[in-house]
Symmetry: D2
Subunit: 342 residues, 4 copies
C-alpha cells in the first residue's frame, strides 16, 4: 500500500505531537515539518530526523545560521505532500489556506481556527464518515473534542436530553509558562454561554449543550464538570456503559489515588507515554452520580494530547486510505496505546 | 441602651474579623478574644487594645512568656460575656460547646461545624427571625452563605425552580499559604453532589440546589458558576432586579475591568476595606444570561469576609437587641460599608 | 507655608500610591492625576475626589464617555503644578520629558527609566542633599532602593567591603495577574551580573555590589539574599545596629511567625496599612548571621510600596521646601507610619 | 558475570526511578520493590512486572485486597537481595537499618537521612573509591549532589577557593502537589547557612561552601545561584573547561530558548527521557560570568532524577562489581543517556 505523505506546518505543542503520531502509523509517512523557529524546539525535529522546512527564505536563512539543516520552504514541502496539517497558532492558519488550495493540497486546520475556514468540523467517533474524501476539515479544539466524545456516547445510548458544563481551562502550556500565564487568580471567559457549546454543534447540531468557561492557574490539563438532563431516569451502570462505548473515554477512580490533575499526569508519565500525554478523556467512574433523570460527572482533558488521535483519523478519512471509521479509530488507538480504563 | 458583651474564641481568619466588626457596632462591645497562639497574630489584638484571653493556663503561660498581656482564661472570658462566637478551626468548636452550655452562655459556631451542633443554621436575609432569642446557632460557611443569599433572592422573586452550581474553591487562606496549599493542579471534591447543597438546605429546606466543588490553586476567593432552572421564562432585567433585592449581593461588570478575582481584590483594597475584605457576593451583571427559562451566572465570594456581617446579625437576633431583620441588616451593612454595586 | 502642587502622570501601581501619599503631606497638595484608562482603576481617583486629567483629547473623550469627570488634559495639568511625578510604564516617561522641560516643570521619573533621562538617581537616606533644587531626578527602582538603603547603612558603619546578592523578583503585580505572569517555573534574568548592581551605583558609585536576579511565580514581594564581605570581623549586634541607623529598614523575626512573604503581607494588612503596603525593607534579625568577616542576611521588599516614601522625599528635595534630609525623612515616615521593628 | 541482586524499599519518587535504572543495567537485576501503598502507584510496578513486596503482613493483606500480586514481605525481599536501596521517606530509613544489618545485607540510604546513619556519604565523581566494598552508604540529597558535582569540577581544576550559593528549592514533587505545597509566597529556610553546605562537606571536607536556601512555589526543579571566589583570576573558557570535566554537568544556553525551568523540562520530555528526567546538572554556559577572580553562575537541578545515576554507581562501588569509578560512571551514563551538552 502506498503511504500517505503528510506535511506538518507549525511544529509547536500540537504540531510536534502530530508529527510523532504520523511517524507511528504504518499507512502514513512524514513529508516534513515546517516552522519559523531556530532554537531547541526545532532541533528536536532534527534529532528525530524529520525533514525540516522553513516558512520562507528569510526564516530558512535564520535556521541555517542556527546550524539547522533545512530541506526547503513551505512551498517545497507543499509539493512533497498528499495532505498538510496546519498547526500554526490561532488565526494564522487561515492565511496559509490559499497556498494549500492553489496547490490542490488537502489540508487540516486545528481548533484555533473558525469552522468557516473549512466548512467542516471533525470528531472521529461522531462524524468520520462525513469527512471521507474531503479537501479540508478542522479538528475541533481540545475542549470541544472532549465534549463531543462524551456527549456522543450519551446520545448514542439514547440518554442525552441536554448538557450544561462548566469548563476549567489550564491557563497556558508548560513549555511556554515562562512567557505568559495567570497568577493566583481565576479568569472567567467574558461570555456565558462560552463558545465551546456552539463549537460542539459544528460537529453535531443535535447536541443541546451550553457551557461556561474559566481560566485557572495551572498548566496541566482541563477539568470539566457536567450536569446532564437525561431523556429518562437511568441507573449509574447504564450511564457508565454508555461512556464505555467510546474507545476514547477512559474511566478512572478517585479511590485509586487518581484524585487530581497532577496525579493523572504522573500516571501518564509512569505509563511511558511520550510527554506524559493522555489522548483519552479521563472520566471519574466513582464520582459520577445519577439522581433521577439528572446526571453529574467530571473529567480531565489533556489539552495537548486529545486532538492527536483525531487528527490522525481525519487524515485517513480525507485521503480515504481507510473508509471505515471503526477501523481507523482502532488503528490509531493501537498505535498510540489508548486505554478505556486506567 | 445596654451594649451586648461579645466574646470571641479563636482569633484566626474569621475571629479577628468578627472582633473588628463587633468593635464597630454601637450596640455591642468586645468582651475579649481568646486563642492559643503567641506570635504576631495575637499581637495584633494587643495592639488594637482588645482584651486577650488564653484557652487555658498552659497557653496563658506561653503567651505571657512571649510578652503578651493576658486577661485570663476562656473560663474568665465566659463570665464576662453575654454571648460567645466560636471561631476555632473546623471541628474544635464542638468540644467547647459543653462549657458554654454549662455557663448558660449563648453561642455561635461557624460553618466548619455541623448543623447538629446547634440545631439551627443562620443566614440573615433568609431566616433571621427564626434565630430570635435562640441559645445557639451556626453561621453557615462562606460557600453556603453565598448560595443562600443569591438563591433566596431568586426564590423571593418567584423565579427559582432548581439551581445547579459548580464551586471553585480557593485552596488555602493567604496568611497560611506558606504552610499548606496545592500547586499547579485542581482537586475535585470526592463526592458529587458536594456538601454545600444540603448545607444550604439546613437554612432553607425549600431550596432545590445541587453542587459540585473543586479546589483551585489560588488563595483569593471562591468563584461559583450557576445554571438555574427558572419557574418560567424571564427577562434579564427581571432577574437582576431579583438579585438587587438582596443588600448583600453587589453587581459588578466585566466590561469595567473587573474581569478576574485579583482585580476584584485590588478594588476592595482601593476602597480601603480592612484586609481588602468583600462582604458582598460580587455577581457579574454583564456576564449573566437568560435563555428561555434557564439562567446562567457567576459570582465571586471572599471566603474570609462574607460571613462577618452574618455573624453580627446572628448576635443581634439571638440577643434580641434588634428583632427586625431589616433593621439589623441595615445597621450591619452601614457599619461595614456594604454596597450593592461596585 | 505655601504647599507644593504635585501632579501625577500615570495612575497605576506606583502613581495611585504616590497620589495618596502626597495627599497625606501637610506641605503638599495634589494638583491632579493623569491617565488614559476608563475603568474601575481611574474611578478610584474620582471617588477620592482627586482632580482627574486625560493624557490627550482622545482619551479625555473616552473617559467622559465612561462617565468620568475630567478636568483637562496633561497640558492643563502641567500648568497647574510645581512638580510632576511621572509614573507611566517603563520607557514611556522618557517621551513625556520634553513636555515637562518645555513648561519648565520640575519632574521625577521612576525606576523603569534610565539614569540618563535625568542624570540623577535618588535614594533619600543616601543622597537627598544632591537633589536639592534639581530640575529632575529618578527615584530608583524597588530592588535598587532596597539595596541602597541596606548597603548605605553598612557603609556608614564602616562595615561594607563588597556585597553579592541574589534577588528573587515577584513576577507581576496583583492587580494585573490575570493578564500576565509566569506559572510553575523560575525565570533567571539573562545577564549575570543583573542591572541592579550598576543601578545602585548610579546613586552611590562607592558601593561594590554585584547581583543576580530571577523571576519567581508569586505576586507579593521580592526576596533578596545577601553575602557581604565586611571590612573586618564583626559581631552580629554591631551589624544589626548598623541596620538600625536606617529608619526605613525594619527588623523582623522568623521566630515570631513572620517566616514567609505571605505572612508579612498579612501583618501589613492587619496594621491597617493601605493596600497592605510595606514601605520598609523587612530584614530578618534572627536569620542574619556573621561568620568571621562574612555577613549573610535576607530581606523582603514590597515592590509596590518601597519607592513611595522616596518619591515624597524627592519632591521635598527638588522643591527645597525642606533642605534637611533627616527632617524630610522624619516627616514622610510619620505620615506613612513607618516602623523600625515589626 | 553474576548480576547483583538489588532490592528497593520504598517505591516513591526516588524508589521507582532507581528500580527502572537498575532494570536497565546489564550487571544488576531487580530483586523486587517493597512499599505500603495500594493505589495506582504500586500498580505501575506490577505493570512493569517488578516483583512486589509489602512492608509487613498487614500491608500485604491490604495490597492483596486491592488486587495486587504480592511476593512476600520486606523480610522475604531481604533474603533475595545482595544489596538494598532504602528510598522510604525522610527519617524512616533509619528505622529499617537494624533489619538490614541483622541480615548482613549491604544497604544504601538516601539524602533524607543523616550522614551518621551510615558514616559515609557518596557522590560518584568525588569519592567513589572510598565506597568500595562498604557495607553501607548514603547517597547525598539532590541539592548536595549538584553542589558536590560542580564544586568538585572547580576544585580538580585548582580553581576553587570558596563558594557561596543561594538555593531556590521546588516546594513539592509533582505527583503529590494536590496534597501539599506553598502558594503565592516564598519560604526561606530558617537557618542561614542552610544545611546543604555542611552536607557537601560530609562527602568532601575540603569544600569551603556556604549556602542559603528558600522554598519557591513551583514543582519542577531547583535553581542554584553561585558566587565563587577563585584561587586566581581566570578566563571564562578555563572555567567552562573545568565544568566539562564532569560527565554529569551539561551546559545549556539561555540564547537557545532554554531560559527557564519549564523549558528545560519540556526539552527532557522531548528527548524521550522517562518522566522527563534530567540526571545532569544543567548549567548555563552563556550566563556564566568571570570578573577577575570571582565567578558567577546558575544551574538547574532536577531533584527527582539527579541522584539516580549516583545510586547506581554506589551499588557498583559497594558490591565491587566495578572497582574503577570512571568505568562505572561511563556505564551508568550510557544506560541512562546522560549528555554533556543540551
Ligand atoms: N495547545 C493546545 O492545547 C491546543 C489544543 C488543541 C488545539 N490547539 C490548536 O492547535 C493550533 C496550534 O496551537 P499550538 O498550541 O500547537 O501552538 P504553538 O504556539 O505551540 O505552536 C505553533 C507553532 O507554529 C509555529 N509558527 C508560527 N508561525 C508560523 C508560520 N508562519 N509558519 C510556520 N510555523 C509557524 C510557531 O513557531 C510554533 O512552533 C491552534 O489552532 C490551537 O488553537 C491547541
Ligand atoms: N477561613 C475561611 O474562609 C472561613 C470562612 C467561613 C467560615 N469559616 C469557619 O470559621 C471557623 C474558623 O476558621 P478560620 O479559617 O478562622 O480558622 P483559623 O485557623 O484561621 O483560626 C482559628 C484560630 O483558632 C485558634 N485556636 C485553635 N485552637 C484553639 C483553642 N482550643 N482555643 C482557642 N483558640 C484556638 C487558632 O490558633 C487560630 O488562631 C471554622 O469553622 C471555619 O470552617 C472559615
Ligand atoms: N510596579 C512596581 O512594583 C514598581 C516599583 C518601583 C518602580 N516602578 C516603576 O514605576 C513606573 C510605573 O510602573 P507601574 O508598575 O506603576 O505601572 P502600571 O502599569 O501599574 O501603571 C502605569 C499607569 O500609567 C498609565 N499610562 C500609560 N500610558 C500613559 C500615558 N501616555 N499617559 C498617562 N498615563 C499613562 C497606565 O494606564 C497605568 O495606569 C515604572 O517606571 C516602573 O518601572 C514600578
Ligand atoms: N523527592 C526528591 O526530590 C528527593 C531527591 C533526592 C533524595 N530524596 C530522598 O529520597 C528518599 C525518598 O524520598 P521520596 O521523595 O522518594 O519519597 P516518596 O514519599 O515519594 O516515596 C517514599 C515511598 O516510601 C513508601 N513507604 C513509606 N513507608 C514505608 C515503609 N515502612 N516501608 C516501605 N515503603 C514505605 C511510601 O509509600 C512511598 O511510596 C528520602 O530520603 C528523600 O529525602 C528525595
Amino acid at each position: 500500500m502506498k503511504k500517505v505523505k503528510v506535511a506538518i506546518n507549525g511544529y509547536g505543542v500540537i504540531g510536534k505531537r502530530v508529527a510523532d503520531a504520523v511517524a507511528l502509523q504504518d499507512d502514513m509517512e512524514l513529508a516534513g515539518v515546517c516552522d519559523i523557529i531556530t532554537d531547541w524546539r526545532i532541533k528536536i525535529a532534527v534529532q528525530r530526523e524529520y525533514p525540516v522546512f522553513a516558512f520562507n527564505d528569510d526564516f530558512r536563512k535564520q535556521m541555517e545560521n542556527a546550524g539547522i539543516k533545512v530541506q526547503g520552504t513551505l512551498s517545497d514541502l507543499i509539493q512533497k505532500a498528499d495532505i498538510i496539517v496546519d498547526c500554526t497558532p490561532k488565526k494564522i492558519a487561515a492565511k496559509n489556506i490559499e497556498k494549500y488550495k492553489e496547490a490542490n493540497l488537502k489540508f487540516i486546520v486545528q481548533g484555533g481556527e473558525k469552522h468557516e475556514t473549512t466548512g467542516h468540523s471533525f470528531s472521529a467517533e461522531n462524524n468520520y464518515e462525513t469527512a471521507l474524501g474531503r479537501e479540508s476539515t478542522r479538528v475541533v479544539s481540545c475542549n470541544t473534542t472532549s465534549i463531543v466524545r462524551t456527549l456522543t456516547a450519551l446520545k448514542n445510548a439514547g440518554l442525552l436530553k441536554k448538557a450544561r458544563g462548566t469548563l476549567l481551562r489550564r491557563a497556558t502550556d508548560p513549555w511556554e509558562s515562562h512567557l505568559n500565564g495567570i497568577m493566583n487568580t481565576l479568569v472567567p471567559e467574558k461570555e456565558i454561554p462560552s463558545h465551546q457549546g456552539p463549537d460542539a454543534q459544528t460537529v453535531d447540531p443535535d447536541l443541546d449543550v451550553i457551557t461556561a468557561a474559566v481560566k485557572v492557574p495551572e498548566t496541566l490539563s482541563h477539568l470539566h464538570y457536567w450536569n446532564v438532563q437525561l431523556t429518562r431516569e437511568a441507573g449509574k451502570e447504564e450511564v457508565l456503559d454508555a461512556f464505555r462505548t467510546s474507545t476514547r473515554v477512559a474511566l478512572i477512580n478517585y479511590s485509586d489515588g487518581l484524585s487530581a490533575n497532577n496525579a493523572i499526569k504522573e500516571l501518564m508519565l509512569a505509563l511511558n507515554r511520550p510527554y506524559g500525554d493522555m489522548y483519552e478523556v479521563a472520566l471519574w467512574e466513582d464520582m459520577l452520580k445519577v439522581q433521577g433523570d439528572e446526571l453529574f460527572y467530571a473529567y480531565v482533558v489533556d489539552n495537548q494530547a486529545i486532538v492527536i488521535p483525531e487528527t490522525i483519523d481525519a487524515i485517513r478519512a480525507m485521503t480515504e486510505i481507510e473508509k471505515d471509521s471503526e477501523n481507523s479509530i482502532r488503528k490509531t488507538n493501537k498505535s498510540l496505546g489508548l486505554r478505556q480504563k486506567f
